[in-house]
């Protein structure tokens, strides 16, 4: 009961980039290539939310090991961040499908077959779906230990998402390299927990 407001506010916070983007869209403030702006912004925020989601555990372990959360419990924070990543990923995919592919299936299949970076991005998105479906506590109880294993696929998903970006840039790899670096650090911070028995 008392969690409803914090959850609502946190969700609102996560939707701010979308609201800003939508505002810029309707006020024709997305520049000369609005579709590109939509694709890049939604793509960026998908990666940001994935990285934020991956930061929760290290922050908790290293800064405040005894805490179970800040206002909201960490498992809820992780869930909301993960779902946000999926939401932006979905917007990203929809922008591509509607405006680049013109909702043509044959063109989409051709694109997937011919351009590895599109296929990789699509696979990363597909892998998110089981995580979204099993994101509830109900599913966590049903799957028990296997839930943890399933949700560790977020590591692969994040890696594929950044790889998708790295493969699509023409020449300037700076941003993808920074993302990979951040991902690397977040993974390194997990080494002792991955190896220790729990």
């Amino acid at each position: 009961m008392t969690r409803t407001m914090p959850i609502f506010l946190f969700s609102l916070l996560c939707s701010l980039p979308f609201l800003l983007l939508a505002w810029n869209l309707v006020t024709d403030n997305l520049g000369a290539n609005p579709v590109e702006a939509l694709e890049h912004t939604t793509g960026d925020w998908t990666v940001y939310f994935l990285l934020l989601c991956l930061s929760v555990t290290p922050i908790q372990r290293y800064l405040k090991p005894k805490t179970s959360g800040w206002i909201l419990p960490t498992h809820l924070i992780r869930r909301l961040l993960g779902l946000s990543a999926f939401a932006y990923g979905l917007l990203h995919l929809m922008t591509y499908w509607i405006f680049d592919m013109g909702t043509a299936w044959d063109e989409t299949l051709l694109d997937l077959a011919e351009r590895p970076f599109i296929l990789i991005g699509f696979i990363a998105f597909l892998l998110l779906i089981p995580l979204v479906i099993t994101s509830t506590q109900n599913w966590q109880k049903r799957l028990k230990g296997r839930w943890q294993t399933l949700h560790k696929s977020i590591y692969l998903i994040t890696f594929l998402g950044i790889l998708h970006y790295a493969l699509l840039v023409k020449a300037d790899l700076l941003q993808p390299i920074i993302y990979m670096g951040m991902f690397g650090i977040l993974m390194l911070l997990r080494i002792h927990t991955l190896s220790s028995k729990r």
Partner: protein, 303 residues
């Protein structure tokens, strides 16, 4: 010299006002590191042969959306970093396999050649396009002035190299300076333009000031910006993008909806400012003028 007509007044004044706004901002010192390029109108005459009935791209888009990696790799970087490009005392050297190699000052070029305005389609390899009125003169006139010899089979274009000011050149994003090339008959084609302005005004820095190449039937990256040297050579030049990704960017890079690019299908393009794509034309719509140059060539091989 015929003055620009009434039809041009509205778009002209709106355009000039936008650039004077930049100058006003420059006075605020904190917003821009130093004064940006000085804007002035060119004595440009419309060439009646190149006034197609096409919708011009909003000049706002043309000035704010650029691929000019020397000024940063983001699309709006060249606009924000425009002050980094220094055009004072600019010279253009034409040399190589020619009898009268020469170095020109900008004012010399404006004196030697009548500046004409032509409306051309422009198609970037990334899949966006625009329609821009360029102000310049045919490259053929410049090359004829230096008298190429029979050894001149190709023309190489070298752009500015100034890592002290162009900070992005301190990184090896591309092999600097930016180089491009054309076959001699492509360079001599009546369409090929040396542009010194657009919309009747001198080129803004982010659009390749003070002088650039326009070959409208080829992908945008072949339209070198901020050129300092033109060399007439015997061997086919290797362009910056050919070096960066030889499987993606070939020497010819003619606009061709039938040849897929590894990253983008080239069948359609998105005009700047719009959401929907439209069909890409063979040779960007200049088939009649240039198809003969590639008569017996397999364009999938010579991409």
């Amino acid at each position: 010299m015929q003055k620009l007509t009434e039809n041009d007044v509205t778009s002209q004044s709106v355009f000039l006002n936008r650039r004077s706004f930049i100058k006003q901002l420059a006075g605020v010192g904190l917003l821009l590191p130093s004064l940006p390029s000085y804007a002035y109108a060119l004595n440009s005459v419309k060439n009646p042969n190149y006034q197609p009935n096409l919708k011009l791209t909003d000049s706002e888009h043309v000035l704010h959306y650029n691929n000019f990696y020397e000024l940063g790799t983001g699309k709006s970087d060249p606009y924000y970093n425009q002050a980094q490009l220094k055009t004072d005392g600019w010279t253009l050297t034409v040399e190589g396999e020619c009898r009268r190699p020469r170095t020109f000052e900008l004012s010399e070029l404006e004196g030697l050649f009548d500046i004409e305005q032509r409306i051309y389609r422009f198609r970037c390899v990334e899949g966006w396009s625009m329609v821009v009125p360029w102000d310049g003169f045919p490259l053929a006139k410049l090359l004829n002035l230096v008298e190429p010899t029979s050894k001149a089979k190709y023309v190489e274009f070298v752009s500015i190299n100034d890592p002290d000011n162009l900070r992005a050149q301190r990184r090896d994003i591309l092999d600097w300076p930016y180089t491009e090339g054309l076959r001699i008959d492509e360079a001599m084609n009546p369409l090929t333009l040396m542009a010194m302005g657009l919309y009747g005004e001198n080129l803004p820095n982010q659009n390749g000031a003070p002088i650039r190449l326009i070959v409208p039937w080829k992908y945008g990256f072949k339209n070198s910006k901020s050129i300092v040297k033109i060399r007439l050579v015997e061997e086919q030049p290797v362009s910056a993008w050919m070096k960066a990704a030889p499987k993606e960017y070939g020497f010819y890079s003619n606009v061709n909806p039938n040849v897929r690019h590894p990253r983008w299908s080239q069948a359609k393009e998105r005009p700047l400012g719009s959401f929907l794509k439209k069909k890409t034309l063979m040779f960007n719509g200049y088939e009649a003028e240039v198809a003969h140059l590639y008569k017996d060539m397999d364009l999938k091989h010579f991409f």
